[in-house]
C-alpha cells in the first residue's frame, strides 16, 4: 500500500526538504524552486512507473489508469503554481509558500485516488487548509487578508456541512466505502436525502456554484495570483473528479432526472438548478467587472455551472465530457492567471486598464491571453469549444435537458462580450505609460507552453479523450469488485 502512495510521500518529503532549505543557508531562491520542481518531477515519474493497481484498505487508496491521469494533471497544475509563485512571491517566505502549494497538491492527489467517505473528507481538508493560508500570504495587502479570512470562514463552515452530510450517508448505508454504498438500493429515506443535500452543499462550495459562490470573487481578487491560479485550477479539478465519482459511482441509485417533463426526485435536479443559477449569475455579473481577476472569478462560477450541467446527465459519456472539460478548463485558467501575474508584476495591478497596450509591450503574452480567453469563450479550434460541444451533446443525448443547454449556450454567447473586452484592452487600446516588460522568463515560458497545450487539445482532442474513454470502464469495474 505504501508504494501506491509513493507519489504523495515523495511530495511530502520534498515539502519538508524545501522547508528545511528555507531556514538554512543554502536556501537561495533558485535552490528552493529547483528542489520543489525536482520533487514534483520525481513524483510524476512515480505515478507513471508504479506497477501497482487496485484498491487498498477497503477503497481508501485506489489506483487505476484514470486516477493516474488525474494525478499527473494535478501535479502539472501544482508545478505551474510553483513556477508562478517563484516568480511573483517576495523572497522572505518563498520556501513556506512552495511547501504549502506542495501540501495542497498532495491533498488533491489523494482526492483523486480514493473511494472512501472518510478519506474524501481528509483529503479535501488537506487540499483546502494550505489554500486558506496561501490566499492570505501577501502580508502587506489588506485585500489578501480579507480574501484569506473569507475563504477560511466559508470553507470551514462548508466542510462542517460536508462532514455532517457524509456522516448521515454513512449512517443510512452502513459503510464509508463507495463500493458498498453503491450496492444499497431502495427508496431514499429522509435521512439519506438530508445527507445527500448537505454533501452537495459542501461540494458546491468547492466548485463555486450558486448559492455557495460568494467567496470566489473576493478570494480570487485578493489572493496572490499564483495562489489564485492553484485555487482556480487544481482544487476545481480535484473537486469535480471526486464529486463525479461520489455521485455517479456511489450515489448513482438516487440520481433522479432533470429532464423537462421527466422530473424524478434525486440529486440530478438539484445539480441542474445550481448549474442554471451559476451559469446565469456568473456570466451576467462578469459583464460589469473592472478587475480581471474578479472577472475570471465570475467566469469560474459560470464554468462551474457548465460542469454541473454535465454532471446532472449522470451517464458514462457525460462523465467523460465533464472530466475532459475540467482538465482543459484548469489548463486554460492556470494560463490566464499566469498572464495576469506577469502583468501585475509589470504594472502593479490587475485592473482592465493595466492590460492596455499589452500587445505592443509583450506580443507573445498577448497572443497567449487571446488563446486562453477565446478558449474559455468556447470558440473553435481551441479546446474550450470541444469541451463545451461534448458537454452539451452528452447532456442532450441523456434525457431532455434542452432547457438547460439552451440557457447555457445563450449565456455562453453573453460571456464572449467580457472576454473580448479584456482582449480589447490588450490589443486595441494604447498603453498609458511606458512600463518595461517584467522579467519573468520561467512564467512566460510556462504560459506559452500552456497556450500551446490548449491549442493542441483543441486541434487533436483525442490526445486526452481516448485515454479518458478507455479508462472509464476500468474505473467502474474497480469500484464494483471491491468490498
Amino acid at each position: 500500500m505504501l508504494s501506491a502512495l509513493a507519489p504523495e510521500l515523495i511530495l511530502v518529503i520534498t515539502a519538508l526538504v524545501v522547508l528545511g532549505l528555507g531556514v538554512s543557508t543554502p536556501g537561495t531562491r533558485a535552490a528552493i524552486t529547483a528542489a520543489t520542481i525536482l520533487g514534483g518531477l520525481v513524483a510524476a515519474a512515480a505515478v507513471l512507473v508504479l506497477p501497482v493497481d487496485g484498491n487498498f484498505l477497503h477503497g481508501m487508496v485506489v489506483l487505476d489508469p484514470l486516477a493516474r491521469i488525474f494525478k499527473l494533471v494535478i501535479l502539472a497544475l501544482g508545478l505551474v503554481a510553483v513556477v508562478f509563485a517563484s516568480d511573483s512571491f517576495p523572497g522572505i517566505h518563498l520556501a513556506e509558500s512552495l511547501a504549502l502549494i506542495l501540501f495542497s497538491t498532495v491533498g488533491m492527489m489523494l482526492l483523486t485516488g480514493t473511494e472512501d467517505l472518510l478519506m474524501i473528507f481528509i483529503a479535501l481538508e488537506l487540499t483546502s487548509i494550505p489554500l486558506y493560508v496561501l490566499a492570505a500570504f501577501a502580508k502587506e495587502s489588506r485585500s489578501s487578508a480579507e480574501a484569506g479570512l473569507k475563504y477560511f470562514l466559508i470553507g470551514s463552515i462548508s466542510a462542517a456541512f460536508l462532514l455532517y452530510g457524509l456522516s448521515l450517508i454513512y449512517g443510512v448505508t452502513g459503510s464509508t466505502s463507495l463500493g458498498v454504498i453503491s450496492n444499497v438500493s431502495g427508496v431514499a429515506d429522509p435521512l439519506l436525502i438530508a445527507g445527500i443535500v448537505l454533501t452537495l452543499a459542501g461540494f458546491a462550495f468547492k466548485v463555486a456554484a450558486v448559492p455557495f459562490q460568494l467567496w470566489a470573487p473576493d478570494v480570487y481578487e485578493g489572493a496572490p495570483t499564483a495562489a489564485a491560479a492553484l485555487i482556480a485550477s487544481g482544487s476545481k479539478v480535484a473537486g469535480i473528479f471526486i464529486l463525479a465519482k461520489l455521485l455517479t459511482c456511489g450515489l448513482g441509485h438516487w440520481a433522479g432526472s432533470a429532464g423537462w417533463g421527466q422530473f424524478l426526485p434525486g440529486w440530478a435536479p438539484v445539480l441542474a438548478l445550481m448549474a442554471a443559477a451559476s451559469i446565469v449569475l456568473g456570466n451576467v455579473t462578469a459583464l460589469v467587472q473592472s478587475n480581471v481577476k474578479r472577472l475570471l472569478a465570475y467566469s469560474a462560477i459560470a464554468h462551474g455551472g457548465y460542469l454541473l450541467l454535465g454532471l446532472c446527465s449522470a451517464s458514462q459519456e457525460s462523465l467523460t465530457a465533464v472530466l475532459f472539460y475540467v482538465v482543459i478548463y484548469a489548463l486554460t485558467t492556470a494560463g490566464a492567471f499566469g498572464v495576469v501575474a506577469i502583468v501585475e508584476k509589470q504594472r502593479g495591478g490587475s485592473r482592465l486598464d493595466d492590460f492596455d497596450g499589452l500587445a505592443k509591450s509583450s506580443p507573445v503574452l498577448a497572443l497567449c491571453l487571446l488563446v486562453f480567453l477565446i478558449s474559455l469563450a468556447g470558440i473553435p479550434p481551441l479546446a474550450g469549444f470541444f469541451g463545451k460541444l461534448y458537454l452539451f451533446t452528452s447532456a442532450l443525448a441523456n434525457g431532455n435537458h434542452l432547457w438547460l443547454v439552451i440557457l447555457a449556450v445563450a449565456m455562453n454567447a453573453v460571456s464572449l462580450y467580457y472576454y473580448l473586452i479584456v482582449l480589447k484592452h490588450a490589443f486595441v487600446l494604447p498603453a498609458r505609460d511606458d512600463a518595461s516588460p517584467a522579467a519573468a522568463p520561467a512564467s512566460r515560458a510556462l504560459v506559452l507552453a500552456l497556450a500551446l497545450s490548449v491549442l493542441a487539445l483543441g486541434l487533436v482532442p483525442n490526445l486526452l479523450l481516448t485515454s479518458l474513454n478507455k479508462d472509464q470502464t476500468t474505473k467502474v469495474a474497480i469500484l464494483t469488485h471491491d468490498k
Binding site: 522547508l19 531556514v23 538554512s24
Partner: protein, 122 residues
Amino acid sequence: MTNDYLLLTVFLAIAIVFPLIPLAMAWAWARLFSPAKPGYDKQSSYECGIESTGPAQIQFQSHYYLYALVFLVFDVETVFLMPFAAAFLKLPVSAFLALMVFLLLLVEGLVWAWAKGILAWK
C-alpha cells in the same frame, strides 16, 4: 436506568445547595450583625504585599499569539497521544511507527518555528 438518573439528580441538587449554605449564612451575618467599617488597607487590591503602582489595564503584546499558537499545536498533539497510550499494549508495531511519524512531523514543525526565530521574544 431511571434509578441512576434519579441518584444523579439528587446528587446534583445536594452539590449545588451544600456550598451555598455557608455563603448564605455569611451574607446573612454580615447584613444583620457586623458593622460597616471600610478602611484603606481593607479595600486595596492585594499584590504580594507591596503597594500597587500604575494603571490596571496594560496592553498585551500581540507577539504573544505565536506562543499560544505553538502551544495549541502541541496540546492537540497530546490529546491525540492519549488514546494511543491507552490502547498501546494491544496495537501492532506498525501503529507505533505511524504515530512516530506523526510525532516527528510535529517536532519538525517546532524545529522550523525555532529556526525562523518565532520563539524569540521581541
